[in-house]
């Protein structure tokens, strides 16, 4: 058995060595879809224009009173709290290598499957997470949104053939997922330190706890025995690949030695902005300059 393992390892090393010596390595990526991208951009532009027009009309009819706002002085500093920096950087490099060698090749193969299969897989997993959203919206005290998640789950599980189709979105019930991390934020927990989670990516201590909570909930509910049954590993892997396929990011595509810092900054500011919207009345700074 050991001999067999070492043969496999030797073969792997030979393959890697062969790769390293080749002057040009070719990776086949999923086809680019420029026409669809252009159509999406056009549709988005029209939607944004309509939204802007609607906002202008709303503002005319009902001018915003003295709504509390975030002022530049209240913006978090440029510094990001990163006490696990060395470990995080190690994890970032590990994730980049894993992504390049394992995750992306599998994801690219998945992306070559026919569109309806991909959307079916995506909708199926998205439908399961509605269970998590229902519970967390309830914990957040946002019952209306919780009811929406229930509605989406019922409609998609039945009319949507077990969640393969997102019928609810067509019935003006678009997806609004939430999770335990957001619940903790709603309860007032700060994101805490930046954390790069192996195999997963950028997160924070709070979001890491949230992630464990989300998975723990689905594990406990165990719909259709999917999370505790024999197929759970396979399903987990399929879910991960589907999620990866929806993240248009490639490690070190910036080529920059500062990429870790850039991603950390962007991730944390995005999270802080999302957090700031959960609390209705942040303090208004008395130093707020006129005209801001």
């Amino acid at each position: 058995m050991i001999l067999k393992g070492s043969r496999v390892a030797a073969l792997g090393l030979l393959l890697l060595a062969g790769c390293a010596a080749r002057p040009v390595i070719v990776h086949r990526l999923p086809d680019a879809t420029p026409a669809a991208d252009q159509a999406t951009a056009l549709e988005r532009a029209h939607r944004l224009m309509a939204a802007e027009q609607a906002a202008r009309e709303r503002a005319r009819e009902q001018p915003p009173a003295s709504a509390p706002v975030v002022t530049p002085e209240e913006a978090p500093s440029l510094h990001t709290y990163d006490p696990f920096g060395r470990l995080n950087r190690f994890d970032y490099r590990f994730n980049a290598r894993f992504d390049r060698m394992v995750f992306l090749p599998v994801t690219h193969a998945y992306q070559r499957l026919p569109g309806p299969i991909q959307s079916g897989v995506h909708n199926f997993f998205a439908n399961l997470t509605e269970i998590d959203s229902m519970v967390n919206y309830t914990l957040q005290g946002r019952l209306g949104r919780g009811v929406r998640s229930v509605g989406r789950f019922v409609v998609n599980s039945t009319l949507g053939i077990g969640g393969l189709l997102d019928v609810a979105a067509k019935l003006a019930l678009p997806s609004r997922p939430t999770g335990f991390g957001t619940t903790l934020a709603q309860w007032g927990m700060h994101p805490s330190a930046y954390l790069v989670i192996p195999f997963y990516g950028p997160s924070t201590v709070r979001e890491g706890i949230g992630l464990a909570g989300d998975y723990g909930l689905l594990y406990a509910v165990n719909p259709l025995d999917l999370y505790q049954g024999n197929a759970s590993w396979g399903l987990g892997a399929a879910n991960a690949v589907d999620q990866r396929a929806h993240v248009p990011f490639s490690y070190y595509s910036t080529g920059s030695p500062f990429e870790y810092e850039m991603i950390r900054f962007l991730y944390m500011r995005k999270l802080l902005i999302q957090d700031s919207a959960l609390h209705p009345t942040p303090p208004t700074s008395p130093e707020r300059p006129a005209g801001e």
Binding site: P23, I25, L48, V70, R86, F258
Partner: protein, 453 residues
């Protein structure tokens, strides 16, 4: 798409964290000016020929309605190229061991167009993607390459580690293209070879063709320069002025701009009904956040400054100049680069020229002077070829911010009937529009006979 990038870039410039005081930030740019570059005035305004509309076009790009038709699907291969002349790779950039290029091959024999990205751009940038789509749709094989100022190119394929020299970058690019062509996927048949580039990549494309005229290895047929600079030094010094004008010198302006941007985004997000800050939101937000000319200028200046941070870091690392990196103790894999990033963020192009570029090239080219190097980085150094070679074409805009009136006149005079000059578009703000693409395809096919206004 461009505005998302702009918003992200604005945020990313601040990624190297913690603000530096104005006093310390200003000092490196103002002191130690051995060559006088930092103080040398460049002709015209810091925004060149750009007006308000041009600034907006530069940041937002063309309206989706104006875009040229593109194909449904474009095959895409990522090539990782190990060039034989690469210098020893510093461990801190271990991920840049190979040059990354993108190839879209046609199923049958076809001419190949090599696309060279602009300053700091990857071969898979949004502009490169736009050009790839329209060229593939017109029946070309397409190979998109990063700019020689892209950190991945500097580490993987530069012979010097000091980016920004048109002749040297041209040679590195030329050999990299030759290396890739020698290892194209089996069965791919190339009937002809053209080179195009946008922004700085346009100047690089011209040099690649000029080098080929002597070396003759690639047989480059046509070259098209899209919104090229005329003088590298003047253009980047103008960008320094733009940065100082829009943000103030040093880092304090960056901090101010970041805080304003953050607050605006947070307030817009609070007012929205969203559960996550996604691309859709950023696209809508960018139009609300950036309003004044000064803000557009700031976003343009910042995005160039991000590119400079990478170039400066690698130049310092390779030349052991000791500006921000201790040559005896260079950063190791896993070390934080935060402090170095903070220092570099406040350094303008003039500091790069004075502290990295000029010391290196004055030594590497005995007998050269600051003036001669400045002249060597003008398109006019290959002006005769550009003027007399029937296969050089150019496209530019009357309101391009990297040009002044004299430079635009030089381009028009030099290219004569082989340049299309559009009234509007700023810098690359009309890349991908029907008219620009139609003219580009006509130029590549050798059937363009004027028509720009």
């Amino acid at each position: 798409m461009k505005c998302v990038l702009a918003a992200l870039l604005l945020a990313a410039i601040a990624s190297m964290s913690r603000a530096q005081s104005l006093e310390t930030a200003v000092a490196p740019a103002a002191s130690g000016s051995l060559t006088g570059l930092a103080d040398s005035a460049v002709p015209g305004s810091p925004t060149g020929l750009a007006d308000s509309a041009a600034l907006r076009a530069t940041v937002f790009g063309p309206a989706p309605e104006a875009l040229a038709p593109v194909p449904q699907r474009v095959p895409l291969l990522e090539l990782e190229v190990r060039v034989p002349w690469r210098r020893p790779l510093p461990p801190i950039v271990w991920f840049d061991a190979r040059l990354r290029a993108w190839l879209s091959p046609q199923p049958g024999p076809a001419p190949l167009v090599v696309v060279i990205a602009g300053t700091g751009g990857s071969g898979n940038s949004s502009q490169a993607g736009t050009l790839r789509a329209v060229l593939y749709g017109a029946g070309y094989h397409v190979l998109t390459l990063p700019s020689p100022t892209f950190p991945g190119f500097i580490a993987a394929a530069s012979r010097t580690g000091v980016a920004g020299d048109l002749a040297q970058d041209g040679r590195d690019l030329y050999d990299a293209i030759a290396e890739i062509l020698a290892h194209l996927p089996r069965g791919m048949q190339v009937t002809d070879l053209d080179v195009i580039g946008y922004s700085l990549g346009g100047a690089n494309a011209a040099f690649v063709k000029a080098i080929d005229a002597r070396a003759g290895r690639l047989h480059v047929h046509r070259a098209v320069l899209i919104n090229p600079p005329v003088s590298l030094f003047d253009s980047v010094l103008r960008l320094d002025e733009l940065f100082a004008l829009a943000l103030g010198p040093g880092d304090a302006g960056v901090e101010r701009f970041y805080r304003r941007l953050y607050a605006a985004l947070a307030n817009l997000y609070r007012a929205s009904d969203r559960v996550s800050l996604d691309e859709d939101f950023l696209l809508g937000a960018a139009a609300s956040v950036l309003k004044t000319d000064r803000e557009f200028e700031a976003s343009i200046a910042l995005s160039f400054r991000i590119d400079l941070v990478n170039m400066f870091f690698l130049g310092d690392l390779y030349t052991k100049a000791g500006v921000v990196i201790d040559p005896r103790h260079p950063p190791k894999v896993g070390d934080s680069l935060e402090q170095i990033g903070i220092e570099l963020r406040s350094k303008p192009f003039s500091a790069y020229l004075e502290q990295i570029y000029l010391p290196y090239y004055l030594k590497a080219r005995p007998g050269s002077t600051v003036s001669s190097l400045r002249a060597a980085n003008r398109l006019s150094i290959i002006g005769t070829a550009l003027a007399q070679g029937a296969d050089y074409y150019a496209q530019t805009n009357r309101d391009d911010l990297i040009l002044d009136a004299e430079e635009l006149a030089w381009l028009e005079h030099t290219f004569g009937p082989r340049i299309a000059v559009y009234d509007h578009g700023g810098h690359l703000g009309n890349l991908g529009e029907r008219r620009q693409v139609g003219d580009l395809l006509d130029m590549l096919a050798g059937r363009w006979h004027g028509g720009g206004n």
